[in-house]
C-alpha cells in the first residue's frame, strides 16, 4: 500500500474522519468541564488551606483541604476514574459526566497547590496595607491579593490544563470513545497503526499549541500594571 492509500484508509474510507472529530469532541468536553471544575475546587481548597487561627495555627478547614490534596495526589488518576465509574457513580449512564467529575476532582488538588503558591508569592505587605486601612481579610484578598496572584497562577495553570487534556486519554479504560480510543479502534480495523496514531498525535499537538498561544496572550495582558 502506498502512503496515500494508507492515509485514505485511516481518514477517508467510510467517513472515518468523523470518528476522529467525535472523539476529539469527547476529549475536549471532558477536559473543559474538568478544567472548570478543577479551578473552582482548587481555589476553594487553596483558600481553605491558607486559613489560620488568630495565633497562626492551621484551622480544621485547612486540615480537611490538606487531606483531600494528599489523597488525590497520592493515588493514580486511572484508579480514581475506575473507582468513580464502577463504585461511586456506577448507577449513572452519563459517561462523560462521570469522567469529567473524576478529572475535575483530580485536577482540583493540583490546581489548589498552584493557587496557594500564587497567593503566597504576593508580598505580605499587600495584605497588611489592606488590613491597616480597615478592610477585612476577605475584601483585601478579593480586590488586592487574588488579582495579583492570578499573574503568578496563569503559567503553571496552563501547564495543568495541558496535562489534563492529554490525561483524558485514559477514559478508554472505561470505554468512552475519546480521540485516543478512536485512533486505536481504527488502527485495529485497518491493520495499520501508523496513520491513525500519528494522526491523533498531530491533533492533540495542534489543540495544545493553540492553548499555549492563547495562554501567552493572556499572560501578556495580565502584565499591564507592571509596565514602568
Amino acid at each position: 500500500m502506498t502512503l496515500y492509500e494508507r492515509f485514505i484508509a485511516a481518514f477517508v474510507t467510510s467517513d472515518r474522519w468523523k470518528l476522529y472529530i467525535s472523539g476529539l469532541g469527547i476529549t475536549l468536553e471532558i477536559a473543559v468541564f474538568a478544567g472548570i471544575l478543577g479551578i473552582i475546587i482548587g481555589t476553594i481548597l487553596a483558600l481553605m488551606k491558607l486559613t489560620t487561627t488568630e495565633d497562626g495555627k492551621p484551622t480544621i478547614a485547612s486540615h480537611i483541604a490538606t487531606i483531600y490534596i494528599d489523597v488525590i495526589r497520592g493515588t493514580p488518576s486511572v484508579l480514581q476514574l475506575l473507582i468513580m465509574w464502577f463504585i461511586i457513580m456506577a448507577s449513572s449512564n452519563n459517561g462523560i459526566l462521570v469522567a469529567s467529575l473524576s478529572f475535575g476532582i483530580n485536577s482540583g488538588a493540583y490546581v489548589s497547590e498552584i493557587v496557594r503558591a500564587g497567593i503566597m508569592a504576593v508580598d505580605k505587605g499587600q495584605m497588611e496595607a489592606g488590613r491597616s486601612l480597615g478592610l477585612s481579610k476577605g475584601t483585601t484578598m478579593r480586590y488586592i491579593v487574588l488579582p495579583q496572584a492570578i499573574k503568578n497562577i496563569i503559567p503553571p495553570l496552563g501547564n495543568e490544563f495541558i496535562t489534563l487534556i492529554k490525561e483524558t486519554a485514559i477514559v478508554g479504560y472505561v470505554s468512552l470513545t475519546d480521540l485516543t480510543r478512536v485512533a486505536n479502534q481504527i488502527a485495529s480495523r485497518t491493520y495499520d497503526a501508523f496513520m491513525p496514531l500519528i494522526g491523533a498525535a498531530v491533533i492533540y499537538f495542534v489543540i495544545i499549541k493553540l492553548l499555549i498561544i492563547f495562554l501567552g496572550y493572556l499572560e501578556r495582558r495580565m502584565r499591564r500594571s507592571d509596565i514602568r
Binding site: 488568630e54 495565633d55 508580598d123 505587605g125 499587600q126 497588611e128 496595607a129 489592606g130 488590613r131 491597616s132 486601612l133 480597615g134 478592610l135 477585612s136 475584601t139 480586590y143 488586592i144 488579582p147 495579583q148 499591564r224 500594571s225 507592571d226 509596565i227 514602568r228
Partner: protein
C-alpha cells in the same frame, strides 16, 4: 487618646525558644501629640508601633483607644483601623491598582464616602503632595518618594484620627527622604496626632512633642526633643546618640 498598659509581646522562635520583644510598656499618647520613637534595630520599636493598631497581637497588656480596649477579641478591629492610618517602610501600595484606585478603594468599599466624593478628596490630597498628574498610573512607574507620599495620601483619605509611621523613609534613596519628611511636617503642623518610628533625628528634633528611646523592649527614656538630644540621661542613650548624630 491611646493608652498603652503593660504591653508585652513574645515571639516563638522556630527552635521553640521564646523571644521577649516588648517587656511591659506603659505609655500615654494624647491628641495632637507627635511622638517620635528611636532606638537601635531589634529594640522592639516597630513591634510597639504595630501593636498600636493590632497588626501584631500583643501577648499581654492593654491598648485603650478612645476608652475601648482594642486588644479585646470582641472589638471589631477593622472599625478601629479605619480611624488609625498606617504608613509602612516598604510603601505597600496596591500593585494591581492605579494611584487613584489605591486611594479610594478603602473609603469606598467600606461605605464611608461615595466614589465621587472619594475621587474629589483624593484629587485634593494628591494636589497637596504635588502628585495629581500621577493619579492614573500604576505604582510600578513611581519613584520611592512618590510611592510613600501616595501611601500617606491613601491613609489620609480615610480621615484618620491618628497616623502611625513605621520607618517611612528607611527604604528611600537619600535624595527622596526630604520630600516625604516635608509631607509629614505639613501634616504635623495641621495638628494630626502622629506616632513615628524613624532614624531621622532631624525630624525628631524639629517636629516631635516627645521623643522616646526604646531599647530591649522597654522605653528607656522619654523627653522633649530639646532635653532628649541635649541632655540624655542614661548611658545607653548617650551611646546611641553618639553613634547616630
Amino acid at each position: 487618646m491611646i493608652s498603652v498598659k503593660n504591653l508585652c509581646k513574645e515571639f516563638k522562635n522556630t527552635d521553640g525558644t521564646v523571644t521577649q520583644v516588648l517587656k511591659g510598656i506603659n505609655y500615654e499618647i494624647n491628641k495632637g501629640e507627635k511622638i517620635v520613637i528611636v532606638g537601635p534595630s531589634g529594640s522592639g520599636k516597630s513591634t510597639f508601633l504595630r501593636c498600636l493598631n493590632m497588626m501584631e497581637r500583643p501577648t499581654s497588656g492593654q491598648i485603650i483607644f478612645d476608652g475601648v480596649d482594642i486588644t479585646d477579641h470582641k472589638v471589631n478591629i477593622n472599625k478601629v483601623r479605619e480611624r488609625m492610618g498606617m504608613v509602612f517602610q516598604n510603601f505597600n501600595l496596591f500593585n494591581n491598582l492605579t494611584v487613584m484606585q489605591n486611594i479610594i478603594l478603602a473609603p469606598v468599599k467600606l461605605g464611608i464616602i461615595t466614589e465621587a466624593q472619594a475621587r474629589e478628596k483624593a484629587k485634593e490630597l494628591l494636589e497637596r503632595v504635588n502628585l495629581l498628574d500621577k493619579a492614573d498610573v500604576y505604582p510600578a512607574s513611581l519613584s520611592g518618594g512618590q510611592k510613600q507620599r501616595i501611601a500617606i495620601v491613601r491613609s489620609l483619605c480615610m480621615n484618620p484620627e491618628v497616623m502611625l509611621f513605621d520607618e517611612p523613609t528607611s527604604a528611600l534613596d537619600p535624595e527622596m527622604v526630604g520630600e516625604v519628611l516635608d509631607v509629614m511636617k505639613k501634616l504635623a503642623d495641621e495638628g494630626m496626632t502622629m506616632v513615628v518610628v524613624t532614624h531621622e533625628m532631624g525630624f525628631a528634633k524639629e517636629v516631635a512633642t516627645k521623643v522616646l528611646f526604646v531599647d530591649e523592649g522597654n522605653i528607656l527614656e522619654e523627653n522633649t526633643p530639646k532635653e532628649f538630644f541635649e541632655n540624655p540621661q542614661s548611658k545607653r542613650l548617650q551611646d546611641f546618640l553618639s553613634k547616630v548624630l
